[in-house]
Amino acid sequence: MLWAVATLTFFAIRLIPGDPAEAVLGGPGSQASEETLEQVRRDYGLDQPLVAQYLQSLGRLATGDLGSSYALKVPVGELLAAQLGGTILLAVVALALAWLIAIGLSLWSTTGGRVAASVGQGIELTSAALPHFWLATVLIAVFSTQLGWFPPVSTGDLRGLILPVVTLALPLSGFLAQVMRGTLLDTLDSPFILSARARGEGEIGIRLRHALRHAAIPGISLSGWALGYLISGAVVVETIFARPGLGRTLLQAVTLRDVPVVTGVVIVVAVVYILMTVVTDAASRLADPRLRLEETR
């Protein structure tokens, strides 16, 4: 899996026009001489055939070495280790908040009658349609400039985390709630809910104890996707809120054609994603007895 990701990234980046040797020399437009370029190509092994370069980078990767950044001249592993924490914190808190909002919204919109259903659906659709960059700007305008509640750019503490988290969580929660509510409604029509009703369980209890579990399944399997979505969102959010992190590093690396850093970010994200998949698979099994059944058969 990691091998596939590394391979894909390696060759995809080679398709990008632009000389990697120039990235080493301060990016495009550097007024470097041919000798300097040659020197750099030799130093970084860029003069060797592509296959050799590929095998070399794989070999390094196998030993956990992500190489050295062209632009920043520091080991990629070190660079990303410093950036990883901020992004993970942002993504995890945002994912949790998105789930909370989604559960709340879908419960409310399926219990509160027709008005609640329409309003809930409206909120879901609107928030799912909000672009991060726009939402961030509005939040800053309202909560920082007008009300002065939260700092507009990162401060390193919790107060500075709130606006970026909300920016990431809101559109995602709309999306999750959408998916959840559809399944929730279907589940509420299913026989086992009927029998629960017949046993005299309350509507809220039924939802919390039985229906929600089923409704969460597609949402949980979406969580892997959601993580990718959040990291994409982090590119924009980290830029706007001036937070250090993987997203901003990635954007800078793509602009500078800093191949080792782009590859490094993708591999780190892949690792995080694999861990996430393990967690979500376990969670789906917990939530869906049918899957457990299937496994044992």
């Binding site: 000389d19 550097s30 007024q31 660079l79 410093a82 750019v153 054609r257």
Partner: protein, 551 residues
């Protein structure tokens, strides 16, 4: 104490002409420091928010771009500086003398300066720095180019350094005044590139303490500072305890952070926020146009259709940008009619060449053979549409400028030009230029002094460097112009030099190779707590040496 009279200080205003004088007065008021509030007090950390890309190396010798210069201004001293009147003034060098043949310069250095790592500053240090800049392994571009005519530097004594030149260089002092040629500790350089990029060591008012990538650089005061430039307002150490140098790429967030008091100074302030700030009245604006070239649109004369001067003039006559500049920049930018920045004393401008005249444009295009129009209203010749490729770098052109280009696109259509704008990131943009796939381009170029004209318009600038880089985007190739620019770069007499540059600029303007827009915009907004900030009149980077915080 700096008693030596710089040889270039005898600049006669009258000789330069009324226009340059006007430019000078303009500079004078634009670079006005923030209004002094009482007496300076020491202490406090200033937070600076930069919208420029975070440098990949803090050593300004490596590469050499504007974000590096902003930071380097706080950390390094140069050999000389320039004052608000455009005169070269002493800094680490107290005096200098040029030999009769112009091929040898001797700089007398201060003997009381020490780098912040304890290494003494002396002639040997100057030699190490110049060698560092000229060593290909340093990967310097700006500093390397600036020393293009320097063949050797040697230490004559502890306090005298001699520069040997291959040809006379009238721009040498201006080149040395730039922050990209700031003097670094030889011991610091000896640590190797990786470490020196992380924390280069200078003699300046602040010291780099820590660089947290993607976040900030901490600067702390150099308590032993003794070497401010001759035009600074005080002596001794800086007032501030330190500077927290942050990177906030998004302009709206940057302004919001300033409004909320989270940061004290921001750069790259956008035109609409400048207008808003002026209205609010609590923020101070520092307008410091960059030296060197003006912001201009260059017309690629190296290929059809702009190889025909009539088509170039038609384009310039057709596009109407004055109203657009007014509304998009909210009055913060003044229209330019010169290839040079208004801070350059040698700037020559002629607005009569740029009167908008659609009839004249249509006439010229008819004459040039573009007499038919197709169904969409665009002109055609031999079945080919009059299309102009316009690659725009989203990293270099602010939104207001991109909107201005859209307006150019719309007004050029009236004369039958199809302007095809493509928004590109920096790498893609350079690729388009390197492949000669452009007819129109706008590329800023900052360099101290009128010698920038040689870089931008000498025919040798058409041949790309091995890396694909070239600076003569208009692809101007006129032998008489080449001659003028070469001579101007060698003459020692000020008046003669300025006259040669004026002639050169006239040739460029009358050939319709460029459409000047405005000075390279460089606006800073300063919060209410900060006093005493000024822009160094070298490359217009703000210095916080004289700045202090009030509560």
């Amino acid at each position: 104490m700096h008693s030596a009279l710089p040889p270039r200080s005898r600049r006669g205003l009258a000789a330069v002409g009324a226009l340059a004088a006007a430019a000078l007065v303009l500079t004078g008021c634009q670079a006005t420091p923030t209004p002094p509030s009482d007496t300076p007090t020491s202490g406090g950390t200033l937070t600076y928010a930069s919208g420029d890309a975070e440098p990949t190396c803090l050593d300004p010798h490596v590469g050499g771009n504007y974000p590096q210069a902003l930071l380097a201004t706080q950390v390094f001293d140069s050999l000389v500086s320039r004052n608000a009147d455009g005169e070269i003034i002493p800094w680490l060098a107290t005096a200098w003398e040029v030999a009769e043949d112009g091929l040898s310069w001797e700089f007398t250095l201060r003997d009381d300066v020490t780098f912040t790592d304890g290494t003494p500053f002396n002639a040997e240090a100057v030699v190490v720095n110049m060698n560092h800049l000229q060593d290909p392994a340093t990967e310097s571009s700006t500093g390397y180019l600036a020393l293009g005519k320097v063949s050797a530097v040697e230490a004559v004594s502890e306090t005298v350094a001699r520069f040997e030149l291959t040809q006379p260089d009238s721009a040498l002092l201006e080149s040395l005044a730039q922050p990209w040629l700031g003097i670094e500790s030889p011991a610091g350089i000896a640590r190797g590139m990786e470490e020196n990029c992380e924390s280069p060591i200078g003699t300046g008012p602040f010291v780099i303490d820590e660089w947290v990538k993607q976040d900030h650089v901490s600067l702390v005061r150099n308590d032993d500072y003794v070497s401010p430039p001759a035009d600074a307002s005080h002596e001794g150490a800086a007032y501030l305890d330190g500077i927290d140098w942050r990177f906030i790429p998004d302009s709206a967030s940057r302004y919001a952070a300033l409004q909320s008091g989270q940061v004290d100074v921001i750069d790259n302030a956008q035109p609409d926020t400048l207008a808003a700030a002026e209205e609010a009245g609590t923020l101070t604006e520092l307008d410091a146009p960059r030296p060197g070239a003006s912001n201009r649109i260059e017309l690629n004369s190296g290929k059809a259709p702009f190889d025909d001067v009539r088509v170039r003039e038609a384009f310039v006559r057709a596009v109407d940008i004055n109203d657009g500049i007014d509304s998009l920049f909210f009055g913060s930018a003044t229209r330019s009619y010169s290839p040079l920045s208004s801070v350059e004393v040698a700037a020559y401008s002629d607005d009569s060449l740029f009167d908008v005249d659609l009839d004249r444009a249509n006439e010229l295009l008819d004459e040039a053979g573009w007499s038919e129009r197709d169904a969409d209203g665009y002109r055609v010749k031999d079945g080919e549409r009059l299309t102009l490729d316009f690659p725009v770098s989203t990293n270099q052109s602010i939104p207001a400028e991109q909107s201005l280009f859209e307006q150019i696109q719309a007004t050029a259509k009236d004369a039958g030009f199809e302007v095809s704008i493509s928004l590109l990131d920096l790498s893609g943009w350079y690729t388009a230029l390197g492949a000669n796939e452009y007819d129109i381009v706008s590329a800023p170029y900052t360099k101290l002094g009128p010698d920038v004209l040689r870089i931008l318009f000498h025919s040798s600038g058409i041949t790309p460097a091995p890396s694909g880089y070239f600076a003569n985007h208009a692809q101007v190739s006129i032998p008489t112009l080449d001659e003028l620019l070469t001579r101007a770069s060698e003459v020692t007499d000020e008046t003669e030099r300025d006259e040669l540059y004026a002639d050169a600029q006239r040739l460029i303007l009358e050939g319709y190779y460029v459409l000047p827009l405005y000075d390279q915009q460089n606006h800073f907004l300063i919060g209410p707590a900060v006093s005493g900030t000024r822009a160094l009149p070298t490359v217009s980077t703000p210095t916080f040496y004289d700045a202090w915080l009030t509560d």
